[in-house]
């Protein structure tokens, strides 16, 4: 297929280290199971057979933060839950990314009151915001592909 043509006689391929590392990071990103509310059901629909997420390598949803790379905050984060969220984020090893799925995670959504944190970016740094209430599974997949594009643009001097 692709690489064998370029191999030639010696079996050596040259590429930029940046590209190879970014490509490997995007291709098997394991999400952490962080479904809180209604967006979690759309995340489960995106995981199921119709809008398959395992084509992106994300079939394995790890409940343990120590084994996951991506935290998809799906649902409203309340003030009681916010410290738990921060602790789980801190327990994830680098490199890690956060997708704020849905309106409640992005900006507080419909709920502007004493109990809901207005946007999960008050607690953790967010890479991609996916809008919708709840966002369609295709919107979530579009958010994941946007995250992949963002990672492809990562520079060596930022993570080395």
């Amino acid at each position: 297929m692709g690489i064998e043509q370029k191999l030639g006689e010696s079996g050596i391929v040259t590429a930029r280290l940046e590209d190879v590392v970014n490509w490997s990071r995007t291709n098997a990103m394991w999400p952490m199971l962080f479904g809180l509310a209604c967006c979690a059901i759309e995340m489960m629909s995106a995981q199921a057979a119709n809008y398959d997420m395992s084509r992106f390598g994300m079939e394995l949803m790890r409940p343990s933060p120590r084994q996951s790379d991506l935290m998809i905050v799906a649902g409203r984060v309340t003030r009681k839950m916010a410290p738990v969220l921060r602790r789980l984020y801190d327990q994830m090893p680098d490199p890690k990314w956060v997708i704020a799925m849905g309106d409640c995670a992005s900006c507080g959504g419909v709920f502007n009151n004493y109990a809901v944190v207005q946007g999960v970016d008050e607690v953790v740094p967010v890479d991609v915001y996916v809008a919708g209430c709840p966002p369609r599974p295709e919107a979530l997949i579009h958010g994941i592909m946007t995250l992949h594009e963002k990672i492809h643009k990562d520079k060596l001097k930022d993570w080395a």
Partner: protein, 409 residues
């Protein structure tokens, strides 16, 4: 924002046995983020090796302040928040709220709107039971059922999108009827679903009902008797699995349910297996109701014509002065119901969903309270789980079918 406090022994001293303090039993936190708790539920387990001695639920991680927030919005705008409480059954929440507003204002609902409401409510019941089946089978490690049930759910969500434009949080039901009439493609789409679904339910039963592994994990687990269940406030399929025949659609019928012929499945063992059988049979009975409602769908208006409380059709605004005035007042100020309070109950897939609505004559609800079934269903969990293994506790949580948005509101 509060910091994470460690739970001190003093706070829970009255809830755990003395063996915890002597070190014989272990206090384990089954935290808010857990794959089997179906949402953000925190359970403090007191374990003697693997057996649960005590189980203390800690809820409130999804408390959104919906009831107080609804007091700050007008009646129409507040309905949007009701979808997001029990997010597996958004149509049912709208239904209860609309019935409460209609009882408060004395609004009539035309027969066509009632039949459409029944069809969509039963479709949502099937969708909710499908998710329950998929996730609770996933908890007892029958993983393929999850993928199959979500395949059917996609078809139901397509019907919802056809009717209202939104897959889940439709807010399609409005006080006085529904938002707009169903399109022409609605009936063929529902009939296509009715044709394929009975065989699919047979497939799920073939996978699980006589499976010896499933039977071992669900028989005689989490048993509760009928009188205890109703004393604990358990309602819905969990109550009917223990032999008490309480289905709000039969006992306090609403929206034309009395004209449809359906049975309420009842079992007497009161264990996880009985609750499973009751819910699978409920899916079949919902199909019966949908078929009857679709066959007898009457023609007519889809919304009440009492324009004090419902908006007029856009086409009338250009020709009628009253329609213009009603439209203007409805969307700027809102409508003013009479002073008083009502309580309306419907049957959600989880149990009795009730709405207590009090009005002080203004355009905003003075007090809204939802009696959500999962709140009381979860209260029984410590009693059901005592003496079982942790793995059985997971099966029990799945069988009680809680949704944390419903518990915490």
């Amino acid at each position: 924002m509060t910091d994470l406090k460690e739970v001190s022994y003093e706070e829970i001293r009255h809830l755990v046995s003395d063996r915890a303090f002597s070190g014989e039993t272990v206090l384990l936190n089954m935290g808010p983020q857990h794959p089997s708790t179906h949402g953000v539920l925190r359970l403090l387990l007191e374990l003697d090796a693997e057996t649960v001695v005590n189980c203390i639920p800690d809820v409130g991680f999804l408390h959104t302040g919906i009831e107080k927030n609804m007091e700050a919005k007008t009646y129409q705008k507040a309905e949007v928040m009701t979808d997001r409480m029990d997010y597996m059954n958004p149509v049912g929440n709208n239904f209860t709220y609309c019935l409460a507003v209609e009882k408060l204002t004395g609004l009539d609902v035309p027969a066509r709107a009632q039949a459409i409401r029944v069809i969509l409510a039963e479709l949502t019941r099937i969708a909710s039971h499908l998710v329950w089946l998929g996730t609770s089978a996933l908890d007892v490690a029958a993983m393929s059922v999850f993928l199959y049930s979500f395949r059917e759910r996609e078809q139901i969500l397509d019907i919802m999108e056809l009717v209202s434009g939104q897959r889940m949080m439709t807010t399609y039901f409005r006080p006085g009827g529904v938002w707009r009439d169903v399109p022409v493609e609605f009936e063929p789409a529902v009939r296509a679903f009715l044709d394929i679904f009975p065989r699919r339910v047979d497939e799920y039963e073939a996978l699980l009902t006589k499976n010896p592994l499933f039977l071992d994990r669900t028989r005689k687990i989490g048993v509760i008797s009928g009188e205890e269940a109703i004393n604990w406030g358990l309602t819905g399929a969990s109550l009917r699995g223990s032999g008490v025949n309480y289905d709000v659609r039969k006992v306090f019928p609403y929206s034309g349910y009395e004209q449809y012929d359906f049975e309420v499945p009842l079992r007497s063992e009161g264990d996880v297996y009985a609750r499973y059988l009751v819910r699978v049979e409920e899916m079949r009975q919902s199909l019966r109701i949908i078929r009857q409602a679709l066959d007898t769908l009457p023609a007519g208006p889809f919304r009440s014509s009492n324009h004090k409380f419902t908006p007029p059709l856009r086409s009338e605004i250009g020709v009628s002065m009253e329609a213009l005035i009603h439209h203007f007042k409805y969307w700027t100020e809102g409508f003013r119901p009479p002073v008083g309070s009502v309580y309306v109950a419907t049957e959600s897939p989880r149990g009795e969903l009730g709405c207590f609505l009090e009005s002080d004559g203004g355009p905003k609800p003075y007090r809204v309270h939802f009696r959500t079934p999962s709140f009381d269903n979860l209260q029984v969990l410590p009693k059901l789980g005592k003496g079982h293994l942790v793995a059985d506790l997971v099966a029990i949580i799945g069988s009680v079918d809680i949704v944390l948005g419903d518990v915490d509101r």
